[in-house]
Amino acid sequence: MPGQQSVQTICPFCGVGCGMNLLVDHQESVVGVSPQSDHPISKGKLCAKGWSTPFAIEPGDRLKHPLIRTPNGFRAASWEEALEVICFGLEDIITRLGPDAVGVISSARASNEDNYAAQKFARAVLGTNNVDHCARICHSPTVAGLKQTLGSGAMTNSAADIDQADVIVVWGSDATENHAILGGHIIEAKLRGATLIVVDPRRTRLAKLADLHLQVRSGSNILLANALLHEIYRHGWQDQAFLDARCEGAEALAEAVADCSPSRLSEAIGVPASQIQTLARIYGQAGNAMIFYGMGITQFVSGTFNVMALANLALSCGQMGRPGTGVNPLRGQNNVQGACDMGCLPNVYPGYQDVADPAARQRISDYWQCLVPNRTGLTSMGMTRAALRGVFKGMILFGEDPVVTDPDQNEVLASLKALDLLVVAELTMTETASHAHVVLPAASFAEKNGTFTNCERRVQLVHQAIPPVGESRGDWQWLGAIARRLGSKALDWTDSQAVFDEMAAITPNYSGMTYPKLARHHGLQWPCNETAPDGTALLHQTSFPIGRARLIPVHHVDIDEPADGDYPLQLTTNRLHFHYGCGSMSRKSPLLERETPDGILFINPLDAQSLGLRDHSAVGVRSRRGYLETRAILTDDLPPGLVSMPYHFHEAPSNQLTNRAMDPISKMPELKVCAVRVCPLPEGQQPRPIQAILAQTSGSDPQETSG
């Protein structure tokens, strides 16, 4: 430790936004971390990923120079050369096909400044609203659903509120693995006497500690919410005063759930009616009740309706606008909230200002001094589809690995191959980067200043601790370099603070924020403006952004691909505490990598037995879309009939199998459930990585290969 200094910053992993100090040695590398004892959320704690941060960004395999694809693979290039290739490619495509043939995928791992720059680059420099990011596959239904019912698509309450909840319902979220520190707050609340209820098809860690676990069938969320509402209205447990004063549509909702009795729906939901009645009673009669939810709500073709169903539940019981209540989506990535706030979405400018609203367009155009496009752009999956149709030809993408993380890997690969120009900026050579025409070296969070917005809307400062590795650059800097070459001064900022100030002036929720103010407060929660200069811990206290909240009845939507004779098992996806997204950061830790054998399939012992599998048996897993090989782990955390895979492992990517059927409103693919067939590999045969399987089957239809 002699020769080290410690730099205060924010953890680069999940959306909880824990405070950490980076320890920097005299050779300017990050050699350790320590938790910040005085941080308002993490209070001296970090999770396994946070503790492993130095490994995640270490220089060993980092990209250090731009790379340009040649027929013989990549060659190192100068920035000048790389920028020239990129600009030539972009200008060529735009000239031939117009600006809507190009687009930007920004990164929920990057800062607000980077994301603001990305959407401004798309809109002001390229001239398209084709900009999106991974929120599409995590919480786009939250934004769509809560915007309609409450008027704001974010966590209504704060992490600190957990202390004041009498009842905590964790619905479709494995919080101790994905949001470990917040999951820990929930454990703490349970130990001090709060009632903990978990709704999940998997027996999660919190389910094991809970007072009640409803081990529901995948895709039965709306049935359960409606059955609960049925009980609540039948017994008069609704908060009539709250409904009368602040909501509309309660009567229609009560009517809509009149035939949703627990006894009628219990079989479809997969739990006894008595459990539904118990949950209805506990939630309906609670003092303060807080709902947390995750991908187990959003990643369905019914995603937006699922979110609205939860909002109906909370609003009906008046569990809104007070500490320890609310509807609280847990966001997956460090800055996915911020990337949404910045307008890295095809239908909204910064601050959720609708691109279809002429006044908003005028405002942005005046501010940026250029006419911004008004046609809603393509979503990430929309770009994939458009590429396959040959009408989308150029993509700039950073800090995201859709080949591993997006549904239906084979389709994603085909779409990337259809591009004339794919530019990927990354820390390391990911699967997606390996298909790029130009790869740019990106600076990690430890190498730049900026801000991240956590899932409780807290905007926090990230401080540069070390110089950028090699020739890597921050995202707003290289985006600015491309813009300048294309003849635009739209991204000419001197430092990250200048980016932030420009953004805050046009983003209403951020208008009261400045770097010095963020530094003084351990971050500020939006909305932070003239009326709330110190930010807002608790939304909807006296009114909703849309005036009265809307109770909108929703009805069950079948999952797209139930199990059948050919594909008899239902596959769901999950995440592990030790890994993050595509694994490009967390898998660099020798400790975390040791924790999990490459890629795994969790399976109930009864299913394993009927297939002749033992623990760690090599298996082939097939869906209608693809095939992979991995190893089975036997666990009764899953019910018979349901298997599960984490999506962190590029050699055994669950997205070979997943279904791209989408929620029609948010375009969220149904990542949480599809049908698969599992079969043991012959004795002694090792699972092959997907790259080997695809190489062996290239030219032939992967559907027809062995396994």
């Binding site: 002699p2 205060q8 938790p35 970090l46 101790t176």
Partner: protein, 329 residues
């Protein structure tokens, strides 16, 4: 052992700083290198990190192999002084000194480091050093110099030859008997102020008597997220893992802090794992901290009562939480 009266602490810091880097911890509760010519005020109590990492590096290279020769990669730190090490952390370093007695990397740093202790006069949150004989007064043989705050200055005691040598050239008055008495009184008062920690004593007894039900460990195991926070911050934890990294010319081995709470810690290549069970791993951790078996080897418990695990554990199974559960279930 000589005791002096020191009016101005900055005088000592400047003096030590002429030949050494100076490290302190501050209100942000972290260690930082300070400019000895204009030192910051000293803050008593437990910093977020103990002094362990100054000697047992969180990660470091241990050797390189170039195809023909192995080359040591020993650190060569400049002399440094840690000012304000709490008594519990001093005891922990003495514990580490035993564990790493023959470790050249640890010793290369240890020999360059001067430990200046700072005795606590008020208990810290979650701390219970008196119960495990680690504070609030500095224990014999654990520091080079020890500071104790007095009303109008500091009682400075040189407790090692290296400490005595480090003061050479500084003109210091001998401490009065009165100052010594005040120290004893303040330490005694401080001890009185610690909250009741009967559960620690009783928990350790039950643990050694094997009176803890298996299903309690199982339940505690569910609460262990395997984050490695406790082992990272525990000042007496010393387990490390190794990894060989090859570049074009060389193979380099590095070591890094490991954690016995990881499933992979003891897993064998065959996938057989003697401690596959999270509850068993939690049990092993606490056994290492409070078992009489280790007392025979190290002359004391593995726990120095700093309470950091209670702060950092997301699963609420730090030392107080665990010991209370042991006593109440």
């Amino acid at each position: 052992m000589m005791a002096y009266f020191l009016t101005d602490l900055a005088e000592l810091t400047r003096h030590l700083g002429r030949t050494r880097q100076i490290w302190q911890h501050d209100a942000r509760q972290d260690w930082f290198q300070t400019d000895a010519t204009t030192p910051s005020p000293l803050v008593a109590g437990r910093p977020a990190r103990s002094a362990k990492g100054f000697f047992f590096a969180e990660q470091e290279h241990v050797f390189e192999f170039d195809g023909r020769y192995f080359r040591e990669t020993l650190p060569r730190p400049k002399p440094f002084a840690l000012i304000g090490v709490s008594s519990c952390d001093l005891v922990a370093l003495a514990y580490q000194d035993q564990f790493f007695a023959d470790d050249p990397h640890y010793q290369a740093r240890r020999q360059q480091g001067l430990l200046v202790g700072l005795e606590c006069t008020t208990p810290c949150t979650h701390g219970f050093c008196p119960t495990v004989d680690a504070g609030p007064g500095a224990r014999a043989g654990t520091a080079d110099l020890v500071l104790h705050p007095l009303d109008d200055g500091w009682l400075l005691t040189a407790t090692s030859t290296q400490g005595e040598d480090s003061l050479r050239g500084l003109s210091l008055a001998a401490a009065s008997e009165c100052a010594q008495q005040l120290r004893d009184k303040q330490l005694a008062d401080c001890e009185q102020q610690f909250p009741d920690d009967h559960h620690i004593v009783e928990g350790a007894r039950r643990l050694n008597a094997g009176e803890i039900a298996e299903d309690l460990w199982q339940h505690l195991g569910i609460q262990c997220l395997s984050c490695s926070g406790c082992t990272s911050l525990c000042p007496t934890c010393s387990c490390y893992g190794v990894q060989d990294q090859s570049s074009e010319q060389t193979i380099s081995r590095r070591r890094f802090w490991d954690s016995c709470l990881y499933d992979g810690f003891q897993r064998e290549a065959s996938q057989h794992n003697p401690s596959a069970d999270a509850g068993a791993r939690v049990q092993r951790f606490w056994y290492h901290k409070f078992s009489d078996d280790f007392r025979q080897d190290f002359g004391r418990y593995g726990c120095v009562g700093c309470g950091r695990c209670e702060v950092t554990c997301p699963g609420v199974i730090g030392v107080h939480s665990v010991m209370k559960r042991i006593c109440h279930e």
